[in-house]
Point group: C2
Chain length 348, copies 2
DNA sequence: TTGTAAGCGTTATCAT
DNA sequence: ATGATAACGCTTACAA
């Protein structure tokens, strides 16, 4: 019984690709030996190894990864889920993970949940179905969804968020400390009335950052709140609202919204930092190229990405889950912050 | 003969996931029927369909995608290769392709070649090994490498570049026309001495853009050249060199280098556009938030991404390769361009 | 409409 | 050190 057509209507001329069987025949060895040679298993004599390699080269053989996966139970594939691929914070992470994974012969399946909690769960599941593990930046998924993922029995690593309900491995930067130090800088400059630009509601990072800002109320600082978001447009949109508060400094959820705000302020003739100080969070590259350059919190992205891959690598190798890597973040003082107008005036 | 352990030392408690066989037994039907139900094949009676679905639900069954791939010869996976994931131009493309692919039940394997021609070939090959098709932004790969990819017999789509040597399907924006119109705008403003900031050497897009700029030499415009690159840092780095040319306008290879240049100029007290006009290319979102906002060339990224996926989709469905989609780009005039100093002075 | 069983291209077990 | 061969979980002719 001969079988289907194979060519799938696909595209090119493609004579069928050789199988391990054909290589074995050509080298006059068993398929097992060919498999061993390509697995780098030591237990093959030099002579046979050479013969196999020759035959494989002649035929243009390359192992069929899908068959390897099915038989071996390993895919050499990890999934990576982010809330927004267009955010420099995330693509920096992806880019670095991509490289480290490649060095370990892993490929990466990427998905973008577009900040949707529902998508986080679904995409996560389907990614994990195909891969050996999942790196997820899922700031909002609830315990049920997460538990379901874990139940697939494969390593799942949470990034930018600590989860305790189902206990999960995670890599995070200490957002609370970073934001606290940043706002302290504002207070030290003399600011007593600060507006916080909220990020995406209920995201873990947002909660940490807000907690840090809010903490200054106890120290006599007036802290107003505005719901903005995490994009350039979000920051731009709330400019009027910000001015209406009468504050002297704005701490934004992230660099994107801070940059959007600064641009909108410039258009209205509001000078930064003379009239109003503005800070961001993440230290994305663009923040160094705005005028004025943006005061922000640097998160060690390279280290975070490396820790992410190393941790995932460990989980894939059978390490027990639950590890937590915490990285420090720190304020980067640039031109977008200064003394509040009254103080500056007195100083003159 | 019982076989290995299965659990891979992986992580969780995971009772083994159910197979199609178990579902078939539970529903008291054959595996073929279960397969048909999950394939959505019409030829199953309503009664059996329901029984299968019930059993599957009870057992928590989900098809094993790797086995499906091996047996069916389709992976529902496409590879996507970009030269630099950190460039907004590319992540916009990826993000959109990700979504459209997901809607068609395809997943996307992403790789970043880091502008290395060698990596373009290798990564492309290994992506294509696992997937049904490859979307590649490979501005530099030579004919040999490309032919090798095509020989894998799977659809390959080139983006941002037209390739004729091996004939390839491609989606491009007409960079020449866009850049030409942009420079014409500069000339119309009165500029007669323009400096072009070269992008990555030998990239296809770079060649098209440069060809457009160079064309103005025939019209009596002095065009100087500086080798910069495609990043923010590249633009920043060449600021002094730019000033040394004495030109009145700069056309950069892309927005990133243009923004870097503008920032460096601002630091040196050079006013844009009063002292020097600067243009970019791509119309990345950040260009709208710099001060002044950047004059640039808009490339229809959404349309390009849609065309990219639709074309790939067609190839996957067996359409013949070789199609070429060309999209128009057009100048976007913002604040970073104005009349050259002399002309402006006369006007006053 | 439904079932049977032959692949799909490997890996890993067992025997030699 | 090498070979034979049963899985791996599914799809799809082909038979009924």
């Amino acid at each position: 019984v001969t079988r289907q057509r194979r060519d799938g209507g696909g595209s090119a001329e493609g004579r069928k690709r050789p199988t391990i069987r054909q290589v074995a025949d050509a080298a006059d060895v068993s398929v097992a030996t060919v498999s061993r040679v390509f697995a780098g298993s030591a237990a093959v004599s030099a002579g046979l190894t050479q013969r196999v390699l020759d035959a494989a080269g002649r035929l243009g053989y390359a192992p069929h990864v899908v068959a390897q996966s099915l038989a071996g139970g390993r895919n050499n594939l990890v999934g990576m889920l982010v809330p927004n691929l267009a955010d420099p914070h995330f693509y920096a992470l992806i880019k670095q993970v991509l490289h480290e994974a490649e060095r370990d012969s892993y490929q990466v399946l990427v998905a973008d949940s577009d900040e949707s909690p529902a998508a986080e769960g679904n995409l996560g599941t389907s990614l994990l179905h195909r891969s050996d593990g999942l790196i997820m930046c899922a700031p909002r998924s609830g315990p049920a969804a997460l538990r379901e993922l874990l139940d697939l029995g494969k390593p799942v690593l949470m990034v930018d968020r600590v989860v305790t309900d189902p206990v999960m491995s995670s890599v995070v930067v200490d957002a609370h400390a970073g934001m606290r130090d940043l706002v302290r800088h504002l207070v030290d400059l003399g600011h007593r009335h600060i507006t916080y630009l909220h990020g995406p509601a209920r995201s873990w990072q947002e909660q940490e950052r807000w907690r840090a800002v809010r903490g200054f109320r106890k120290r006599g600082v007036r802290v107003d709140e505005i719901n903005a978001g995490a994009t350039l447009e979000d920051g731009q949109r709330v400019a009027a609202e910000v001015l209406a508060t009468g504050c002297t400094a704005v701490a934004a959820h992230n660099d994107l919204s801070a940059i959007g705000l600064v641009a909108a302020l410039a258009e209205q003739g509001v000078r930064v930092p003379e009239d109003l100080s503005v800070t961001g969070y993440d230290d994305i590259p663009f923040g160094r190229y705005t005028s004025p350059p943006l005061t922000t919190v640097r998160v060690p992205e390279l280290e975070a990405a490396s820790a992410t891959w190393q941790t995932m690598r460990g989980l894939l190798d059978g390490h027990r889950p639950g590890a937590r890597v915490v990285l420090r973040s720190e304020p980067v003082l640039r031109g977008s912050t200064g003394s509040p107008p009254e103080v500056a005036a007195v100083a003159r």
